[in-house]
C-alpha cells in the first residue's frame, strides 16, 4: 500500500485506519481492555442524567417510592488511538458491542513526529466519513438475522 493505490481503490475490508463514532461510545472500556498493544486511551467521568434526579428525602439510599436513586451516565472526555503502537489486528472493532469503532481504508497519514500518530477523538471521528458501507454478504452465506423468519 506504499506504492500506487490499485485501480478502483483499496480492496473491500481494507484495514487503513480505525474510525470512532463517538455518538455510539458508552465508555464501556472493552476496546481498551481487549487491545493487545495497550494503544487505546479512554478518559471519562460520570454525570447525573437530567430528569432522573434524586427525588428528595433526608437519606438518598432510601428515596421515596417511585423516584429511584440518582441515575448517572458515563461521559467520554478523551478517546485516542496511538497508531504508532497499533498492529491493526482489529480486535477493538470486533470487541465493541455498540458499533462505535469501524475500519476505514484510508492509509495516508504518515507523520515525521511519532507523537502525531496518536489520533485524538476529533480526528478519529473525522475518519468516520471515509468508512465505506458494509460489503454485500458472500454468496451462500446465511441470511442476516433481520431476514430470518420469526421464531414461532
Amino acid at each position: 500500500m506504499t506504492g500506487t493505490t490499485p485501480a478502483g481503490g483499496p480492496p473491500a475490508r481494507s484495514r487503513g485506519v480505525i474510525a470512532l463514532l463517538e455518538e455510539n461510545c458508552t465508555v464501556c472500556m472493552l476496546c481498551a481492555r481487549e487491545c493487545p498493544d495497550w494503544c487505546i486511551y479512554i478518559e471519562s467521568h460520570k454525570e447525573p442524567v437530567p430528569g432522573h434526579e434524586y427525588g428528595g428525602g433526608p437519606d438518598p439510599a432510601h428515596a421515596p417510592a417511585g423516584r429511584g436513586r440518582q441515575r448517572v451516565r458515563n461521559v467520554l472526555d478523551r478517546f485516542a488511538i496511538d497508531f504508532s503502537l497499533c498492529m491493526y489486528c482489529g480486535i477493538c472493532v470486533e470487541a465493541c458491542p455498540y458499533d462505535a469503532l469501524f475500519w476505514s481504508p484510508e492509509f495516508s497519514y504518515a507523520e515525521t513526529d511519532i507523537t502525531a500518530l496518536t489520533h485524538e477523538q476529533g480526528r478519529l471521528r473525522e475518519w468516520m466519513w471515509t468508512v465505506p458501507p458494509p460489503p454485500p454478504h458472500d454468496e451462500g452465506s446465511p441470511p442476516p438475522l433481520s431476514q430470518l423468519p420469526p421464531v414461532s
Partner: protein, 182 residues
C-alpha cells in the same frame, strides 16, 4: 502424495525413532534432534517437498523448546510439518541451511527470539533485535518490562477518572509477581 503414502515412505525410509502421523493438512513428523537434517533431506528428496515455507520455535514450557519447520510440495501439493524437541537449558540443533537455503533467516530469527543455537549456520547474526539486546523475547519466561513501566489503559472502570491504588498493584500479564526493573 496422500498422507498415507507419505507415512508409508517415512516409515520405510527414516529411522523408527522418527514418529509420523497425519494432521489436518498433511503429515507431522516428530523428529529426534539427531535425525533433524536426515528428516529434512528426506522431505526434500523423497517426499518432493521443494518449497521451504518457514521454521520457528515454540516454547513448550516444562517440556523444553521445539523447533518446527514447514515444507511443501508445489507439484504434489502436500505439506510436511517437522518438529523436534530440544532441552531448555542448552537448545542446539544442526542448521538446515545446507538443505534449504531459505532457512537462514528463519534460523537467525529463532536464534534471537528463542536462544536456539544452530550449528553450521553461515551467518548467525541478530536479524530483528538491536545490538546488545539481552534475553530471548519469545520465551515464556521473558519479562515484558514495557508492561510494568506503562500503566494499563484498561485498568479504569467506565466513568472512572483515576485508577484506585489497590488495583494498580496487580502485575500486568507477562510480568512476574514482585518483579522490579533493575
Amino acid at each position: 502424495m496422500t498422507p498415507e503414502e507419505i507415512i508409508a515412505a517415512v516409515t520405510s525410509g527414516l529411522p523408527p525413532a522418527v514418529r509420523c502421523e497425519a494432521d489436518h493438512h498433511g503429515v507431522m513428523l516428530a523428529v529426534p534432534a539427531e535425525h533433524w537434517l536426515a528428516a529434512l533431506m528426506f522431505a526434500r528428496e523423497r517426499l518432493d517437498c521443494d518449497f521451504f515455507d518457514w521454521l520457528t520455535g515454540v516454547d513448550e514450557a516444562g517440556e523444553g523448546l521445539s523447533v518446527v519447520a514447514h515444507v511443501y510440495s508445489l507439484a504434489g501439493r502436500h505439506h510436511v510439518l517437522a518438529r523436534t524437541l530440544l532441552s531448555r537449558s542448552a537448545p542446539r540443533l544442526a542448521s538446515a541451511t545446507g538443505i534449504y537455503r531459505g532457512a537462514a533467516w528463519h534460523e537467525r530469527e529463532t536464534h534471537e527470539m528463542f536462544g536456539v543455537e544452530f550449528d553450521g549456520h553461515p551467518h548467525p547474526a541478530p536479524l530483528l533485535l538491536p545490538g546488545g539486546f539481552e534475553g530471548h523475547p519469545l520465551r515464556k519466561d521473558f519479562v515484558l518490562a514495557a508492561r510494568a513501566a506503562k500503566e494499563w489503559p484498561g485498568a479504569k472502570e467506565p466513568g472512572e477518572r483515576d485508577v484506585p491504588r489497590a488495583r494498580r498493584r496487580l502485575p500486568p500479564p507477562g510480568v512476574p509477581e514482585g518483579w522490579q526493573p533493575s
